[in-house]
Amino acid sequence: MKSLQASHNPLSNSFIQLEVLNTGDETISSLPKFSEKLRALGLFPLKPLNINTLQINVGKMCNQTCKHCHVDAGPDRKEIMTRETMQQCLDILASTSIQTVDLTGGAPEMNPDFRWFVEEISKLGRKIIVRCNLTIIVANKKYNDLPEFFKTHRVEVISSLPYYSSHKTDAQRGEGVFNDSLKALQLLNAAGYGVEGSGLILNLVYNPSGAFLPPPQGSLESDFKRELKLRFNIFFNELFAITNLPVSRFLDYLMVSGNYDGYMEKLVNSFNPEAAQNVMCRSMISIGWDGYLYDCDFNQMLDLKINHGLPDHIKNFNTEQLNQREIVINQHCYGCTAGAGSSCGGEIV
């Protein structure tokens, strides 16, 4: 499967995605604006609480081409963060008290400077999260030692596993992904990840394999723990249930499958004011592969940079100004406020 960009799909253009999200057809254009919902709660303009996380997208290259990927990542994407931009991120970390660095991609491990970057962040004593797609660990011999590398730097591993059976996992992430993910999970467990008392954190991510909202996180976590242990003797720490946002390839899926209008209505009708208070963009900055700054990874993929005249590149990073910024919102934000809410760490209510 090719990326939207490689297949010249109009939705690879962020401007067209925003058009679809805002005007679409009669149903879409009649939906209330996200800004109106926030205004009614006294939350507009949306302001940050405190920046405690830098989420850094080190590139769009990936060994998988998942159907729901909001990054439109894949083997045909060549955008990769340079060591120079990584160094700029390190300089910012060294000069601020931001405690957590969340590395994502694509498959972040495919960036040739990934290990150097992790080592340097580790020297700064910050918490490191790597969003590992699991299959990269078994994709090539040179990645087989990743669990040991992660262990050395006390990296917290967060990995997607849509279900504890192959059917749903492979339907979303590609043929054979489930079996390769199991092999990778077993290697992570063997290194101590997800094992009680090891202190090595392995969290899993559940995304719905279709146009519906995630089930309650707690009960789903119990199911995953029971079934993964029973069927494959696999252990993990927590399960994060994350809503699919109508961005990029998931937006394309919604439109092609005829689910777009219904899904957007569902997100809007499930708007939860409590979730709106806790959205992740209030406590993070997202950095793109080319060093530009965004309020979140989804805004990054819609090319909605930090706005309102603020410096929007890592070379001009200004914590004080960023803490005062107005967060850029749009209709896709309903994905983070539906039901129990959603963030890169799962439910937020």
Binding site: S165, P208, G210, F212, L213, P214, P215, P216
Partner: protein
């Protein structure tokens, strides 16, 4: 099949050609337009019924799915197929719930076979 002029005219005025329109599901709440007090009582009750209780919300959704198939309500089938997924049930569990409905429906017919047998025995030498 021939249709008379009046029927043809009525169809022209009313383009709905089936009794069920999927778009009507989201208008369910509109039943309060004609009778608000009873609708409110119903929807309040409905909301309470499906909350976690002695049974989990997930179990209740599976029961609703099975009942939806028994009463053959297409709106309920759409609603609870979606709801079951969002409560964390999988396809296998959902189909087993429908088999429970089917077994009871089939069994309900067959168990009346005893009544038929009783009657036959009553009438026979």
């Amino acid at each position: 099949m021939q249709i008379d002029r009046d029927t043809a005219s009525a169809l022209k005025l009313n383009p709905m050609k089936t009794y069920y329109d999927p778009a009507d599901l989201k208008k369910f709440g509109n039943i309060s337009d004609f009778q608000p007090e009873l609708a409110k009582k119903f929807f309040d009750y409905y909301g309470e019924v499906f909350k976690d209780g002695a049974l989990t919300a997930r179990e209740k959704s599976l029961i609703a799915l099975a009942v939806a198939h028994t009463v053959q309500c297409p709106y309920c089938i759409d609603a609870y197929a979606s709801d079951c997924l969002e409560k964390g049930s999988n396809e296998e569990q959902m189909m087993e719930a429908i088999h429970v409905a089917a077994a009871i429906r089939g069994g309900a017919s067959l168990v009346h076979g005893v009544q038929m047998m009783n009657k036959v025995k009553e009438l026979s030498m």
